[in-house]
Symmetry: C2
Subunit: 417 residues, 2 copies
C-alpha cells in the first residue's frame, strides 16, 4: 500500500503542479514547439476555405500558418499564426514557406511563376506550380483535359474578335466568351446569341487587355459537381456526386448524392479521377460538370483546391474534403469519403446588402434541430458574398433540403430590410 | 444585355479587387472586427477542452480568447488570441473579461472568490462563481446533490482522523478518503480497508493541510457517465448515457450508448437534469455515476465543464457537447444531442513516457478507415497524460470499439520502446 501511495502522491504533485502552478512546472516550455516532428502547414490565402482546412488540420495536431492580405481574415481566427502580405509577393511566400513544412493554396489565382520560385528555393508546395499552370489559365485547362481524353465543351482561343466569330460560326449560336484567367462564379463570362452580341461581349470583357476564349453553349439537365482528393503518391478518393443549384452563377445549394442514374455517377467518378491525374493534382479538388439531356456528361471546369460543393463533407462524410486535403499534402493516408447519412444538403449563406459581416437571425437558425450552421467570420458583407453555409443531413434529399433551407432562411447578412 | 453586362462588370471588379488587390479594396479594414455584434467568448484555460470548444465556436463565427499559463497550450493554436497569465490571477481574468462578451471555464479549479470578483466588475461568467462554489469542494458538491434528493454514496466530513474513523465505523470497510479540492482522475483519493490503512491514508493525503472527507466504498457493475447542457434560461438537453472504462483511474474508453436497460438510462438522464438544476449550471457538464449490482445508480461526481466522456459527441451527435456549451453560454438555443449512428466508441490516447508531444505512428492510425483521430498538440508528454483521442462510429459497439482501438493502438506518445 505504501508503494501505491508513493506513486499516486508523485502523480498528484506532478499533475497539480502542471495544472495549477506554473512556477513548479518545467513542462510548459515551448522548446519543442518547433521540433521537426510537429507537422506544420502553410496556406496561401485566409478565407473560409483556409479556415475550414485549418480546423481540420488543428484536430490532427497540425500547426497552421496562413498568409493573407488582412489580419482579420476568416482563417486568422483559427490559425496558429497569420502573416499579412500579398499572395503573389515572393518575399511573403518565402517567409511563409520558411515557417512550415508544406505550403498549400486556398485559391487558384496565385501566380504559378512565383510559386515555382518558392519550389526552386527548396520548399514543398502542393499542389505544385506546374499543376497550377495547367489549371489557372482556363484555355490551357481545357486543352489539358481534352488531351487527356476527357469530355469538355468545344472551345477555341479568341485572341481576336474575328477568331471568336469564326469559332461561333463553327459551334453555332449561342456561344460563351470567357476570360482565360481570374474568372469565378460566372464572373468574367458572357453569353452571346449573335455576332452583334459577341462584339459587345468582346468589348465588355476587354479582349485586347484580357486574353479570352470562346466555348460552345451547353444546355444541360443538371449541373453536377464532385470532389476528388489525390495523394502525393497518386492514390485518389472520390466523394459522392453532388447536384449543384446555382443562382446568379453562384453556387447556392448542393444535394448529395445527386439524383442521377448509377452509371452517370460512375462516369463522373471516373472523370474526376482522370482529371486529377491529368493535372497531377495533390490535395482536394472540385470538378463542375454538365449532365446533358442525352445522358452524357461534360466537364465544365475544375478548381485545384477544396471547393464550395464539398462543404457538405464536414458533417456528411467519414473524412471531410478539408481533412483529406491536409492528409494528402502532408503525405498521410487518405480517409474514406463514404457518406454517414443517406442524404446531405448544403445551402450557402450569401450577403444581402453592404454591411458588417455579422449574421442577423442566427438565434432563429440555431433553433432548427439538425441544421449545422457555419459562419465564416468575415468582417464585411456585400450582395452575393459567401458569408457562411448550412448543412443538414436526412434520410432523403427533400428532408435534408427542408431543414437546411429553413435554417438558412432565418439568416441575413447586411442590414435587415 | 448592356444592363446585365454593366452589373456583371461591377461585380467582377469589386470581387477581383477584394480577392487580388488590397490597394484597391477598402473592405479589409478591421474597423468592425470588434463591433458589438461579433460574438466573443473567453475561456479560462487553454488545454484540449478549450481547444475543442474554440473550434466549435469558430465554426459559428465566434471569436475566442483563451487565458493560459503558457502560450503554446493546445487551444492557442485555434484561438483568435491567447493571454498568458495565471488562471487565478484577478488582473489576468479581468483583462480576459474585458476583451470578450462572456467568460467560461475549461476546468473546475479556478478560485470561485476570484471569479466572483470578475462578476462583481460587471462581466458575464458562465458557469457562475456560485455554481463553481457548489462543485469545486467535493464535500459541498455531495451535500448539494444530497439536498437536491439525488443519490450519492454515503459521505462525511473528515476534519480529523477520529472523524474519518467514526464515519468508517458507520459505513463499514473499506472506505475512500478524498481531498475536498483539486482531486481528479483518481488523484487525491485513497482507499482504506482498515483503521491502520485509514491512518496511513490520512497521513499520505496530509489531512491537516488538505481538507478531507470520507465516503463509503461503492462496488459497481459498470461506471457510467452522461453529458448534460443547460442553458441560461434553464432548459437542458441530455446526451445518451455512456459506459466508461477506466484504467488507473483515468478515463480510457467510452462506449455510447451504454449497454444498460432502458429504465436505467432514463434514470441517469433524469439525474443529469436534476444535478444541472441543483448547481444552476450553465453550459455542458459531465456526470460520473456508478451502476450497481442491484440495478440502482449513484452519482460519483460531477464536473461543471465539457468532459472527456463526451468527446464522442463531436462525430456521433447532431450537436457536440462543445457546440452546445458555446450555445448555452452565449444564450443561443441548444442543439440536438441525438446520435447520428447506432454506436460510438472513444479511446483516449495517453502518454507512454516522458518526451515531446508529437505522436509516433499517426500515419498508421490514419490508415484505419472510419477512425477519427484527434491530436491535442501538447508540446510535452508524460505517462498517462491525455494527448489525444480516437472516436469511431459503428452499427454496434463492438464494431466501433474494434476500429477505434485499432487506430489508437498504432499511436504512441513519448519515446518508442
Amino acid at each position: 500500500m505504501g508503494a501505491t501511495h508513493r506513486i499516486e502522491q508523485t502523480r498528484i504533485e506532478t499533475e497539480i503542479a502542471e495544472t495549477m502552478n506554473p512556477a513548479v512546472s518545467g513542462k510548459t516550455s515551448n522548446s519543442n514547439a518547433t521540433a521537426p516532428l510537429v507537422r506544420t502547414l502553410g496556406i496561401i490565402g485566409g478565407g473560409q476555405l483556409a479556415k475550414m482546412t485549418a480546423i481540420a488540420a488543428a484536430q490532427l495536431g497540425c500547426r497552421i500558418v496562413v498568409l493573407e492580405r488582412s489580419a482579420d481574415c476568416p482563417a486568422a481566427s483559427v490559425a496558429a499564426q497569420t502573416l499579412v502580405g500579398d499572395l503573389n509577393d515572393l518575399d511573403a511566400l518565402l517567409r511563409l514557406a520558411g515557417m512550415v513544412e508544406v505550403v498549400t493554396l486556398e485559391n487558384e489565382f496565385v501566380n504559378p511563376d512565383v510559386l515555382a520560385r518558392v519550389e526552386q528555393a527548396g520548399h514543398a508546395v502542393w499542389p505544385t506550380a506546374s499543376t497550377m499552370r495547367l489549371v489557372q489559365d482556363k484555355l490551357i485547362q481545357k486543352e489539358t483535359l481534352l488531351q487527356a481524353g476527357l469530355p469538355v465543351p468545344r472551345f477555341a482561343p479568341a485572341p481576336t474578335l474575328e477568331a471568336a466569330l469564326a469559332a461561333a460560326a463553327q459551334f453555332g449560336w449561342p456561344v460563351v466568351l470567357k476570360r482565360r484567367k481570374l474568372g469565378y462564379d460566372g464572373k468574367g463570362n458572357a453569353t452571346a446569341r449573335s455576332a452583334a452580341e459577341l462584339e459587345s461581349s468582346w468589348a465588355y470583357l476587354d479582349g485586347l487587355k484580357n486574353p479570352l476564349y470562346v466555348e460552345e453553349f451547353c444546355p444541360f439537365r443538371t449541373e453536377l459537381a464532385v470532389i476528388v482528393t489525390r495523394s502525393r503518391t497518386g492514390e485518389a478518393v472520390v466523394y459522392p456526386v453532388t447536384e449543384t443549384i446555382n443562382r446568379n452563377h453562384i453556387c447556392n445549394i448542393t444535394k448529395t448524392p445527386a439524383p442521377v442514374p448509377r452509371d452517370t455517377a460512375q462516369k463522373v467518378v471516373e472523370l474526376a479521377q482522370r482529371a486529377a491525374d491529368a493535372i497531377n493534382m495533390v490535395g482536394s479538388m472540385g470538378l463542375e460538370l454538365f449532365w446533358r439531356e442525352d445522358g452524357t456528361v461534360l466537364i465544365n471546369e475544375i478548381a485545384p483546391r477544396v471547393h464550395n460543393t464539398g462543404h457538405y463533407t464536414i458533417e456528411a462524410c467519414e473524412c471531410s474534403q478539408f481533412e483529406n486535403h491536409v492528409r494528402a499534402v502532408l503525405g498521410w493516408p487518405l480517409g474514406s469519403p463514404a457518406m454517414r447519412a443517406p442524404a446531405a444538403v448544403m445551402v450557402n449563406l450569401l450577403g444581402h446588402a453592404e454591411g458588417i459581416g455579422t449574421p442577423f437571425g442566427l438565434t432563429q437558425a440555431l433553433s432548427v434541430p439538425g441544421a449545422h450552421v457555419h459562419i465564416y467570420g468575415k468582417t464585411r458583407t456585400s450582395p452575393g458574398r459567401k458569408m457562411g453555409h448550412v448543412t443538414a443531413l436526412g434520410q432523403t434529399l427533400d428532408e435534408a433540403l427542408a431543414l437546411a433551407q429553413r435554417a438558412a432562411n432565418c439568416i441575413r447578412f447586411g442590414q435587415p430590410e
